[in-house]
Amino acid sequence: MDFNLLVGGQAGQGLKTVNSILGKVLFREGFNIFSSSDFMSRIRGGHNFMQLRISDQKLYGPDNEIDLLIALDKKTAKIHKEQLKEDGIVLIDGKSEIIDSRAILVPASVIANDINPKGINTVFVGATLKMMGLDLENAEEILPDFFVDEILEDNIKLLRRGYKAVEKIYDNLKKNVTGKEPEIFIDGNSALGYGALSGGLSFYSAYPMSPSTGIMNFLAQQQKDYDLVVEQAEDELAAVNMAMGGSYTGIRSMSGTSGGGLALMNEAIGMAGISEIPLVVADVQRPGPATGLPTRTEQGDLLFAVNTAQGEFPLMVIAPRDHKDLFYSSFRALNIADEYQIPVILLSDQFNADSSKNIPEFDFESLEIKRNLIKKADYGKKEYKRYEFTDDGISPRAYPGQLEDGLVLIDSDEHDEKGHIVEDGEMRKRMVDKRACKLEKLIEKDLNEPEYFGEEDIEYLLITWGSSYGPAREAFQLLQADGIKVGLLSFNDVWPLPKNKLKNLAERVELVTVEMNSTAQFKSLIASETLLDVEHDILKYSGRPFTGKEIYNRFLDEVIDNG
């Protein structure tokens, strides 16, 4: 069972509410669910839409063929008509002209005018639930999360009236019921923020920027319950340098932004490199360059992130592949930043950020916070040197005030073991080597090889990094079902690039990267790091995410037919 619902309308019509309530109800009902959104960079008007895909099978991404189109305005019906399946249905406001024979009318504006003219959207929720054969219990339970007291009653009424206004239509919607672990339904930005919070984040300083602001929103809400400070900085330069200051004093600190903000944070990320201050920065990518398409998705910042900042220094870049991974990756990023005293960039994107998915509850038992700070007891009268040379390049880290006699001096210039500016070439060389050494250790000890899906014996290997995993995973299954000998390699750690699995697999197969950008950046990275020739790339750069079927079809066209 694979059922796809699209809710569309103008910005400001309360689409997000419809989507969120329906999403949560369907989640509680026990469906697998993938919810994604397509927003314009404006507050009202225009055309926005959200997709809710449900199934009894696991879902990895959106689909563009629609079963049920919920049109909050006329434009929606027009724009998305083409996507409607043969047996698809359009749910539309009663006063609208019927532009499609498959339309079902709901007198939404009439009902709303009766009760509360702003509540058209809630009527649609009620009607949709009825059509899907679900009851109102879950919806009514959820409603208080979305409406303040004054309008709650109205909305319950609106919901019920909508419910009554139409008939049940679908009766074969299958839920995922067998042996399910406890699950949550979460969006990508919250998952990322949640992972950081679970890692003991004490300070998040950022400047609002779509599509990263959701991380800050999530964390800001937690301030009352946790020892956490969320500060909106005057600009990104302040944001990232504040985080470094926090980290210097010993607390876990992080910043987040999108590419344009990352461009302003570069210099500081380099500083975290040379001054060995743990720093985590999330870059939630959107199509660039410059302002680009603020509310759309792309994976165009890879090489920029990997080559962030002038000069050379150890850096890790992690591109979480999905919602579960977003949580565990940001938790892990904080550990790695602390362990190696380096900057870590979390490379998410709008597709990750603004979509929601049901995933297993997070396993807090498995989480271990590793601060890698010195123990005060070890430093009686021993002199403290912030950049002490050690075998693995990692110096003992104290925070200011921790030691009564030890001072912590950090520097953005090249420096000696005590942190003082130096200019001599020998010390420069040793310090560069010291820092490089940390990355060596990270590669040996903490780098995650990509995850492989597929049989031993394959002819093609799909390669993804970050969020293109989801749609590619679906394509992989479709291709497999066709009997094509294909495997899927999904990279999460992208810098340093883990090479072993890729090299092993590459020997006998044709390589295909699947990337949301126009220049196949991951293909370049693979070439520069492994000299492997990736024969094909399936690229997309319209700002809209891939669907599994799209990759499947393009694979057949571009890889097999041109093979």
């Binding site: 509680r28 949550i184 339904f185 979460i186 919250s190 919070l197 679970s198 003991g200 004490s202 300070f203 300083s205 937690q222 301030q223 009352k224 946790y226 020892d227 400070v229 500060e231 900085a233 005057e234 330069l237 302040a238 944001a239 990232v240 340098n241 504040m242 985080a243 470094m244 200051g245 926090g246 980290s247 210097y248 004093t249 010993g250 600190s253 210099e267 500081a268 001054s275 938790f331 509850e361 997070f362 807090f364 038992e365 916070i369 925070y399 200011p400 005030g401 030691l403 009564e404 030890g406 001072l407 912590v408 001096l409 950090i410 520097d411 953005s412 210039d413 942190g419 003082h420 500016i421």
Partner: protein, 284 residues
């Protein structure tokens, strides 16, 4: 008096002989010493420039950051450990030029810290270009016929913004400077001291003598809490340059506005990942 020279480092500096940075450092280390502080209780945040090398030449914790970014990491420090005494210290170029946006917004934020600006009215480290505070008439390799802007007036600006504590001093008045630093340290909130600091290598206009002839102490009956008077006073420059606390105004600090529960520094708090599991309820 505490252990003499508690804050003094013997190491050679990269400053020019005769530079105003030396007496500034002296006043600062004496001020700290007299306040019964220990080096590990103090952290100095600086940017890049000659002035910004201070953390290397004085015995405290130090964060020698990026050009223009001396203030933001200090805010991070106020979050992480508000028990540290935080001093921000950098040059006029670093503070008012590259870092202008941070001083603008930290006046609004009002963090509890002391901000010492080594105002030599020149870019020293990069060899003598005009800084925001340079006189209009200065001639340099870049400003071949003087600047293309009016000088930035730090005191007027800060008073105009109603900063919490605004003072001026001069390295040629050691006692005064020390007193200003100590008053700033005791002040609750953001305390800016613009310190006249001759650059003997590049600023041939604003020399020791130039300042010496002009600076005068504010009279005893000057009331720094009167904003309108302070705004007038803040514009005095030229033949007579007032030194002292020009404006003062106790108000809510940055930390007062945070949603933290108690007074324990964040860096000392214990946290277990499991504490966060209850948030999952929101996503069910």
């Amino acid at each position: 008096m505490v252990n003499e020279q508690e804050f003094t480092i013997a190491a050679e500096t990269a400053w020019c002989p005769g530079c105003g940075n030396f007496p500034l450092r002296k006043a600062l280390s004496e001020a700290l010493q007299e306040m019964d502080l220990k080096p590990s209780q103090v952290a100095i945040f600086s940017g890049i420039g000659q002035a910004a090398k201070v953390p290397h030449y004085i015995k405290t914790n130090g964060f020698n950051g990026l050009h223009g970014r001396s203030l933001p990491p200090a805010i991070g420090a106020r979050v992480g450990n508000h028990k540290l005494k935080v001093i921000v210290e950098s040059g006029d170029g670093c503070t008012y030029g590259e870092g202008g946006n941070h001083i603008l917004h930290n006046i609004r934020r009002n963090p509890d810290l002391v901000h010492l600006v080594h105002d030599n009215q020149i870019y020293g480290l990069t060899k003598g270009q005009a800084s925001p505070t340079s006189e209009e008439s200065i001639k340099t390799g870049i400003q071949v016929e003087g600047t293309t802007s009016e000088p930035f007036k730090p005191i007027q600006f800060a008073v105009g913004m109603e900063a919490s504590f605004v003072a001026r001093s001069f390295v040629g008045r050691q006692d005064h400077l020390k007193e200003m630093i100590q008053r700033a340290m005791k002040h609750r909130g953001y305390a800016l001291i613009d310190i006249l600091q001759p650059c003997v290598s590049f600023n041939k206009i604003n020399t020791y003598q130039w300042y010496d002839k002009r600076v005068y102490r504010l009279s005893e009956d000057y009331d720094p809490t009167n904003l309108d008077e302070a705004f007038k006073k803040s514009r005095e420059w030229g033949d007579n340059i007032p030194i002292g606390v020009i404006y003062k105004n106790e108000k809510k600090t940055f930390r007062d506005r945070l949603l933290l529960e108690d007074d324990q520094p964040l860096v000392e708090k214990e946290f277990e990942s499991g504490d966060a599991d209850k948030i999952m309820e929101k996503f069910k």
